[in-house]
Symmetry: C2
Subunit: 162 residues, 2 copies
């Protein structure tokens, strides 16, 4: 199962590292690419004092006014408890408002403020530029296939729920 090694007990410092076994796992590529993407996106959003999740949340609130927290959390695949701090953050920065739902005293309807809309526009523009750069090495076919493959992986889990 193991491959033979030229120097079985000590690899020299400048020697090439054998990662062929690791490269046999698709998850290894996903982790490394995601780490790069995550750090790059975080750096892009930092000037706006946004994290990835607050950015995504703001987008969904602007595009879907009046949504409840639980609906939004589910759409973003965030556990409800973790979503509270995210909504708090956006609300305290006056980017969104928590409005009582008349028909259900338990629930809040989320809406974006004018400031929220403005930040939505500027942050989206910045991230679009960032993604253009980050994925510039991919041709159109690679990009399409990447997105399709990632979608399939995600929905695979939804079906094969353990």
């Amino acid at each position: 199962m193991k491959k033979p090694h030229s120097s079985p007990q000590a690899a020299a410092d400048d020697e090439h590292i054998d990662d062929t076994t690791l490269r046999g796992f698709t998850g290894y590529y996903m982790k490394r690419a995601w780490n790069v993407t995550r750090a790059d996106l975080a750096a892009t959003l930092q000037p706006f004092e946004l994290r990835m999740i607050t950015f995504s949340t703001l987008i969904l609130i602007v595009d879907n006014p009046g949504l409840r927290q639980s609906r939004l959390a589910k759409a973003l695949a965030v556990e409800r408890p973790n979503f509270v701090a995210i909504i708090n953050e956006l609300e305290h920065r006056q980017l969104i408002t928590r409005d009582k739902v008349p028909t259900d005293q338990r629930a809040y309807a989320l809406n974006a403020t004018t400031e929220g809309h403005d930040l939505y526009n500027t942050a989206i523009a910045a991230v679009r530029v960032q993604e253009l750069l980050l994925f510039s090495a991919l041709d159109v076919n690679e990009r399409q296939t990447l997105i399709r493959a990632l979608s399939k992986v995600e929905s695979k889990k939804a079906r094969a729920h353990r």
Copy 2:
């Protein structure tokens, strides 16, 4: 820049959520697919009391006996301080040994024990099965393109280092 909404102030509970803006970002697909992959892989490794990073580290040590911590940390894209606990964990479980390097009193050479080799084999077999299932919806071309695209994204950052 915004799209019109059928109901501008309140989206009904059973209404479809508009995520077209989010779906315009490749990073959104990557995050969601990675979350699924990460959770699936973690569940697969849990019976072996391995995390993703201890699994990857064990593989590189088995395949590259005698490597130093710093070399290994760099190869795995882990910050050196965070790597200490990882090596400690593998050492305490007697899966690897930390051996003094004769030519450099500061450094440790890492080698896998017999137990480490055994766990390497069984864990790899389990993860191979897991990946077969997780990526079964992808055809050969999609898989190849996915890996190539992910590699390009990763190396893109290496070049465009901020």
